[in-house]
């Protein structure tokens, strides 16, 4: 065990956490390493909570989270750095005619009050609600912004543990509706406008698209290594923020 902590001081930065944040940080790490050949950066995509937990326990130096810290977590003496904003897009199957929902409709759908597409202007088919698992940063952010609590989530909701899975489900099921981070949205699914606001980075930045949350990096107060700090600095730099943007997220600058 002691060996590995030595090496982390030597030139290795361990980062772990959110699967939404992970991919963009990975790219940052790649770019960072091009400039700093002697530093290696390990990016673990294990989930926001696990990342935070790892940071508290010292398994990782830096944690990634796609949600705000919980009080308990804050108490553990973590320092957070916001590195990006992420919009959460509501997605439906390509064949679905519904292109826009109000935020209340979204809420009602997720709470199980609206169960048929016909109620929101679509075909007469049931709505298959897809959600992330409890504990997911994306889910936390989504619920908070849409305005319902975990226990209110319709019980029949499909739970999936990754944006990719949600996308696959929605792509394969014309009744399905799910939500994923902007970074994962592509042509295989429709992304809905909320209250007639298109899910774009500009709209998020402008505060018009409300379903969004911050990407943060955390580290234990006072233990951040030089390399770790320079990595975070790199992400916050213009070059880093460009990468953030290129992946469909919103730069904090």
């Amino acid at each position: 065990g002691s060996n590995s902590s030595d090496s982390s001081n030597g030139g290795k930065v361990t980062v772990s956490g959110s699967t939404s944040v992970g991919p963009v940080i990975e790219i940052c790490a790649e770019k960072f390493k091009e400039a700093n050949k002697d530093i290696s950066i390990e990016v673990q995509q294990v989930g926001s909570s696990a990342g935070i937990k790892n940071t508290i326990e010292g398994t990782s130096e830096i944690g990634m989270a796609s949600r705000d810290l919980k009080d308990e977590e804050k108490k553990a003496g973590l320092k957070e750095t916001e590195v990006a904003l992420d919009g959460i897009a509501l997605i439906t199957n390509k064949s679905n005619k519904v292109k826009n929902l109000t935020i209340n409709q979204v809420k009602d759908i997720y709470k199980g009050k609206i169960t048929n597409w016909k109620e929101v202007g679509g075909k007469d088919t049931p709505i298959v609600v897809v959600s992330r698992e409890d504990g997911s940063g994306t889910r936390d952010g989504f619920q908070e912004k849409v305005g319902f609590k975990s226990e209110e989530l319709v019980k029949e909701a499909q739970i999936s543990d990754g944006s990719g899975n949600i996308k696959t489900i929605v792509e394969g099921n014309e009744n399905a509706m799910g939500y994923i981070s902007f970074g994962y949205v592509d042509k295989s699914v429709n992304s809905l406008a909320i209250d007639n606001v298109e899910p774009t980075a500009e709209n998020v930045k402008a505060g018009k698209y409300v379903i969004a949350r911050p990407f943060i990096l955390v580290n234990k107060e006072g233990t951040l290594s030089k390399q770790g700090k320079s990595f975070i600095d790199f992400i916050l730099s213009d070059e880093g923020q460009k990468i953030v943007k290129s992946k469909g997220f919103i730069s904090i600058k």
């Binding site: 065990g1 090496s7 992970g22 790649e30 673990q44």
Partner: protein, 274 residues
Amino acid sequence: MRKLKENILKLLVYLSVLFTISTLVLIVGYIFIKGIKGINLSFLFSDYSASGDGGILPMIITTLYTVALSILIATPIGVLSAIYLQEYAKKGKIVTCIRFATESLAGIPSIIYGLFGGIFFVVTLGMKYSILSGSLTVAIIILPVIIRTTEEALKTVPQAYREASLALGSTKFQTLYKVTLPSAIPGILSGIILSVGRVIGESAAILLTAGTVAQMPGGIFDSARTLTVHAYLLTKENGDIQGAASIGIVLIVIVLLLNTMARLVAKKLNKANC
């Protein structure tokens, strides 16, 4: 009447066979059709890149590391334990206990190993997410497989060989390494090959212990991503079914190679023995 019954039974058998064959063809076929497009040299042999169009070389390397390490750890322990159980231990509470332990280990779902490894090796022993933690965890997973197959192999060594050797004034240990073990080698080897397959196919336990870092591992203390975990993450995070299928092809080919190898080895050793 008798004929009718017989025909019905026959029909059932053939339906079952049809089911088995068709699922096999379907799965393998599906994976090949989905994934074959993604297979090319640069996919197989170039470094991974988070930004896209990288290959899976780091995952292949990690897989090799994990296999090698876990086999290196589990084989001696497994084989020696099996020897103890089969050759030395007197029947009694202790053996029953050990045997029960190994059998129970064999039955535990790998997710539980993951939970355990994730706390014990990663946190408690401070190994962090690393190939080592992962390998130790899978080593425990395959331990019962190796013990079991070795025991079976030892069991099939005729008692007569041992008696003959002992009656010639050999010690138990001499008997073991001169007669018993050589005869059991084919069985032990096929057990090891079986374990290799198990290690390669493992995902849940590795995910929770070796982590998911998509990089060329620098050593066994680095966290890294095996092929199977990669396939899992591609599905889960990117919805990249095609990529997963491509890795699937690689995995299936490896499994095929291993199986053929096991057969050949067993055949060869059997021949050498007889």
